[in-house]
């Protein structure tokens, strides 16, 4: 415990030292202030952009896109994954198509989506949908395939129909691994929303950062990056809380074993 507290203190000290060194080096022009403006200036512009509502507006449009694509992917690929995990024939039938599409690096899909959807929302949502699909799908399949056969057979014995067995037994039993897939996808979603906004957009936090760089408003650029990091951190924390709440029964069960 005391080690832990000491460790936190050390970390905070180093962080402060780095920021102080940056501040001083920038003010003394040892670091080019054009590229590395003083930390205080970045923070000032960060708070100004927050209170003026400029950054929150950009973040909001990014989050809207990200969540549409992400939720859509979850809605399509969790059911598909469950079916593919249950029915071996279906899994084998789609295996080659999936293995062909999966190695495509997601940013490369951006041009195809631009061709089809133009520069609008559809393009970004599609790119996020495509790229967050794979971790969700593959983890769901694995999760369902690894379920203890006894569970499923017990459900059958008690006369549960196929549909109810899926909802009551298979979905909960596979949910830890589905959650893993969802978490991996969350990180990818954030990356892709930024990429698609950099390549073809006129709003969103990814556009904001690249635009600030192109106009050499470097403090705005760092402020944008800071808010993006905060967003990533927040989403991750939110996900952890959600998972803990959602899977508390699972942890309890494992402890009981």
């Amino acid at each position: 415990m005391s080690w832990n507290r000491e460790s936190k203190l050390n970390g905070a000290l180093v962080l402060l030292a780095v920021m102080a060194a940056w501040e001083l080096a920038s003010r003394a022009e040892m670091l080019n202030p054009l590229f590395f403006p003083p930390v205080t200036k970045i923070l000032k512009s960060f708070f100004a952009l927050i209170s003026s509502g400029e950054i929150p507006a950009q973040i909001l449009s990014s989050v809207r896109r990200a969540s549409s694509g992400y939720v859509l992917a979850a809605m399509v690929f969790i059911p598909l994954g469950i079916l593919m995990g249950l029915f071996d024939g279906l899994r084998r039938a789609l295996e080659i198509v999936i293995e062909t599409a999966r190695p495509i690096p997601p940013p490369v899909v951006v041009p195809v989506a631009m061709l089809f959807f133009g520069l609008g929302e559809g393009m970004k949502i599609f790119v996020i949908f495509f790229s967050s699909a794979w971790p969700i799908l593959l983890n769901t399949i694995d999760g369902v395939r690894n379920i203890d056969r006894v569970l499923v057979q017990t459900a059958r014995t008690f006369g549960l129909s196929q549909g109810r067995a899926i909802v009551k037994v298979i979905l909960p039993a596979a949910s830890p691994q589905i959650m893993t897939g969802l978490r991996v996808s969350l990180a990818i979603t954030l990356i892709l929303v930024v990429i698609s906004e950099m390549v073809g957009s006129s709003d969103g936090i990814g556009y904001f950062i690249l635009d600030a760089q192109r106009r050499l408003k470097v403090d705005r650029m760092y402020a944008g990056m800071l808010s993006l990091a905060l967003l990533g951190y927040l989403l991750n924390q939110l996900f952890v809380i959600f998972t803990n709440y959602f899977l508390s029964w699972h942890r309890g069960m494992r402890r009981a074993e």
Binding site: W3, V108, I191
Partner: protein, 258 residues
Amino acid sequence: MKHRRFNLPGLAVFAALLLLWEVSSHSNPNLQSYFPPPSEVMSVLFRLAFARELLGHLVDTLERFLGGYLLAAAIAVSLGVCLGYFRLAHSFFDLLIELLRPMPSVAIIPVAILLLGIGDAMMIGVTVYACAWPILINTIDGVRSIDRTLIDTGRTFGLGRMRILREIALPAAAPYIMTGLRVSLPIALILVTTSEMVVGGSGLGYFILDEERSFRTKEMFAGIAVVALLGYALNRLFVALENRMLAWHRGITAKGTP
């Protein structure tokens, strides 16, 4: 070794999809301009494969990929072993790592443009940055989870700190390190293609975006096929390498289980 059966239904579905694409593309000229028939994409791909242009882009992308990935591995593994082994060093940098990690790595591209210009250095730089995280985190975890007995045994036999690091900590953490390396493999390809799209000039990412902008869809799809093949080949290569390098580890763990 698991023997893989020939997957006939999978192949049939794949062929059926291609056929559907081919037929609908031929019958609808509007669709054809967006989704040219696969047969024409293939013929363009073969024509381009022997042309200098596509090959040059492929080589550029591959060079950036290798440069960034290998550099990231070298930096992150050595840093990770140190941070995992020395708790004090880890306590110094823990907070810094936790702050930088959640930022989506592509956001570093504008900074890199500012500092490194729009050449290879910038593309390699962002690739190093993005790939370093999974490798670093996994290496730290790997070294920290080493059985203390191993290290104590090494010390009993009079090994110095450096030799313990090199001969015990590094091999014992190797499975974790490999996981980090595998996670960062697709990330490297993402960062290389993205930075090629953003700054342009050369490389497969640039080629694909440029063909799209000039509405040469056949060439665009041919480029995507090349990137997909590249991703697939790199992954297979990695798995083969991993099996080879971790064969001893599998041997140990297999013996350990009853």
